[in-house]
């Protein structure tokens, strides 16, 4: 951590501090030296993480950290490139890049802190806001349906897909370590309480309320049917966590090298 950059900007009760801690601990536990780790973030509360971690880091534009990281990784494949950003950034404005990066299966790690709203700009709804949830731009409740992120990213072709809450510190850290290890696109959704932006309008007003909900309703089911892991944030519905996908699939680099080798050798 860059201690001189503290205190951070995050609100009391926010899950991002824990999420960042797990990322940092996973980096320390990884075989890659810290100066070969690179952190790329986008815009939003979680986007500030890049300024706090003491590794080479880039804080880019809204929705585009994944393509930025794509360019960086292609040029420097030996670097462990991780995108740390939020749901609004990665899924709503940047959703197209997310699915294409998963399809491309370039060896990137995407840590997506999901707090179900745009926290930094005052709590508007986005593509992860559950149906009927209140936000500053859904005063009658959200008319739309939310993305089920593990299903979306798995269907797009990611090598590793995982979901934990920011309270599941050990499991989350392990999942991030695994994301570093796999050769291909790795996605970790981190459910993160946002008492100020999301909670207080949705019966989780107290800083502890959303955490309590996560703790009480969390079910770990690694082999879950991904069609059934969508999140409603209704009191009665479960929150299904786990390392859902962890399978070998040729990464972008493998696919590229194989083809180039066979085609160019054939020419000689």
């Amino acid at each position: 951590m860059r201690a001189h950059r503290l205190p951070h900007i995050w609100c009391p009760g926010c899950g991002l501090g824990n999420a960042l801690r797990c990322y940092v601990e996973a980096m320390e536990a990884s075989d890659t030296p810290l100066d070969k780790h690179v952190c790329v973030s986008g815009i939003g509360c979680s986007g500030r993480a890049a300024g706090y971690v003491n590794v080479d880091s880039y804080h880019t534009t809204h929705g585009r950290p994944i393509p930025f990281a794509t360019g960086l990784k292609l040029v420097r494949p030996e670097l462990e490139v991780t995108v740390f950003s939020g749901d609004g950034d990665l899924v709503t404005i940047g959703g197209n890049h997310l699915i294409h990066a998963a399809r491309r299966n370039l060896d990137l790690n995407v840590l997506c802190a999901n707090n179900f709203n745009y926290g930094m700009t005052g709590g508007q709804f986005g593509a992860t806001t559950p149906y009927a949830a209140r936000t500053t731009t859904t005063p009658y409740g959200n008319f739309e349906q939310a993305f089920n992120l593990p299903l979306l990213v798995a269907a797009s072709g990611a090598t590793f897909v995982s979901r934990w809450t920011s309270l599941h510190v050990r499991q989350l850290t392990k999942a991030i370590e695994r994301a570093f290890e796999v050769d291909g696109f790795a996605f970790v959704e981190i459910l993160s309480p946002c008492p100020v932006g999301f909670g207080r309008k949705n019966e989780f007003a107290d800083a502890l309320a959303e955490m309590t909900h996560f703790r009480e309703k969390a079910i770990v089911r690694h082999d879950a049917d991904l069609r059934e892991v969508g999140i409603t944030m209704r009191r009665e519905d479960p929150i299904i966590l786990g390392n859902f996908v962890d399978e070998e699939r040729p990464s972008y680099f493998v696919g590229k090298d194989d083809l180039l080798k066979s085609v160019l050798e054939g020419r000689e």
Binding site: R2, V55, P67, G71, L74, R76
Partner: protein
């Protein structure tokens, strides 16, 4: 590739970029720039570089900037609609001081407009299209050879000043086929961005007093941070008017204080000229023919061709306006660069414009020149 070739402008630009050291291309195909993507896809693996097709133009330029930050000379190419989508990341490249080249093979607009036909309608967007204050460098090639030559200039200027640089081509110069001479490698001068000259433990970004600070690359132990937010000399965000005042003017001064060095133009037959024709890009050819035809009729016409529309060659325009009775600006848009000419000219300035779809015939320019002098 040294030697003589018969090539399309878009392809020549690819060869110029490779000669300048470009080893990364990210883009989204769009007419009439797709020949650049196609040749890059073929050539990059052969020269040890990367070609990647991104899902849109916003992501394309973001990937180019990421590659640039990783140390590669990087570029993208597009046309009107894609150029519009790239505007936000022009600002990112300015703010991160990430050298890169963006090529716009202009076509008729607004919107989808004329996908297969030329215009010069993006000239003001090139200068002012991204939000906030910044200076822009743009080259406007007029021949296939210049697509090659100006690509090299664009990369060198981008690297020297750590800025995005534009090549403002158009459908005509992009898709015309002509002779191209590629010089030997030793004849091609190539620049690379300034790098830190001390090891990480001695490095302090706070010491950076240079207008163009050295660029720290990732993975070398410097512990760099870069942000698109207004930032201090360490790269850390700071939201204040005073920090804005120290950052943004420096970014502007990088270009302003080197304007003499960057600005390029071509003057022909101006010594005794009574009327000056101002053109750029593909209008170079028709403009020169029109001036020669005018001379044959006894009209003392000369030509000022803008090689860098941006930064605007204001001194040559001022000088020209003191020498001639009137200036004619001929461009394939409804009036863009003419505004800058009027800003600096001290004589009447006339405009010959067209909304795009075709280039001017020399006879049309000649008729306009006749009108101007009467």
């Amino acid at each position: 590739m040294t030697g003589e070739h018969f090539m399309k402008g878009d392809e020549a630009l690819v060869e110029g970029s490779i000669a300048a050291g470009c080893r990364f291309y990210a883009g989204y195909p769009i007419t009439p720039s797709s020949e650049i993507a196609e040749r890059m896809a073929w050539r990059m693996p052969l020269v040890g570089g990367d070609y990647i097709q991104i899902e849109d133009e916003m992501g394309s330029l973001a990937a180019v900037i990421g590659a640039s930050c990783a140390g590669a000379k990087a570029m993208t190419a597009t046309s009107g609609p894609g150029f519009s989508l790239m505007m936000e990341h022009i600002g990112l490249a300015i703010m991160l001081e990430a050298p890169c080249v963006v090529v716009d093979i202009q076509r008729g607009g607004p919107s989808t407009g004329l996908p297969t036909l030329m215009s010069q309608g993006d000239m003001m967007q090139a200068r002012w299209g991204s939000h906030g204050d910044y200076e822009m460098v743009a080259y406007a090639p007029g021949t296939v050879q210049e697509m090659f030559d100006f690509a090299i200039k664009a990369f060198n200027t981008a690297e020297r000043f750590r800025v995005p640089v534009l090549v403002m081509g158009d459908q005509i110069v992009g898709q015309m086929t002509a002779r191209l001479v590629i010089p030997s490698e030793e004849e091609i001068e190539v620049s690379y961005r300034p790098l830190p000259d001390v090891p990480p433990e001695e490095y302090s970004p706070a010491d950076v007093s240079r207008l163009v600070p050295p660029m720290v690359l990732p993975g070398e132990g410097y512990g760099l941070h870069m942000t698109a937010l207004t930032h201090d000399e360490f790269g850390y965000p700071e939201t204040s008017a005073s920090r804005q005042e120290s950052l943004v003017p420096r970014l502007i001064r990088k270009i302003k204080e080197n304007e003499q060095d960057i600005v390029e133009y071509e003057e022909r037959l101006l010594d005794d000229a009574e009327v000056g024709l101002v053109v750029y890009g593909s209008m170079k050819g028709p403009g020169w023919e029109a001036v020669q035809a005018a001379r044959k009729e006894g009209i003392k016409a000369g030509i000022l061709r803008l090689i860098t529309p941006w930064p605007f060659p204001r001194e040559p325009v001022e000088r020209l306006s003191e020498r001639v009775a009137a200036i004619l600006v001929a461009e394939v848009n409804m009036g863009q660069m003419v505004h800058s000419v009027r800003e600096y000219a001290r004589c009447p300035v006339h405009h010959l414009g067209h909304p795009g779809g075709r280039i001017f015939h020399p006879d049309e320019i000649l008729r306009a020149l006749r009108k101007v002098i009467t």
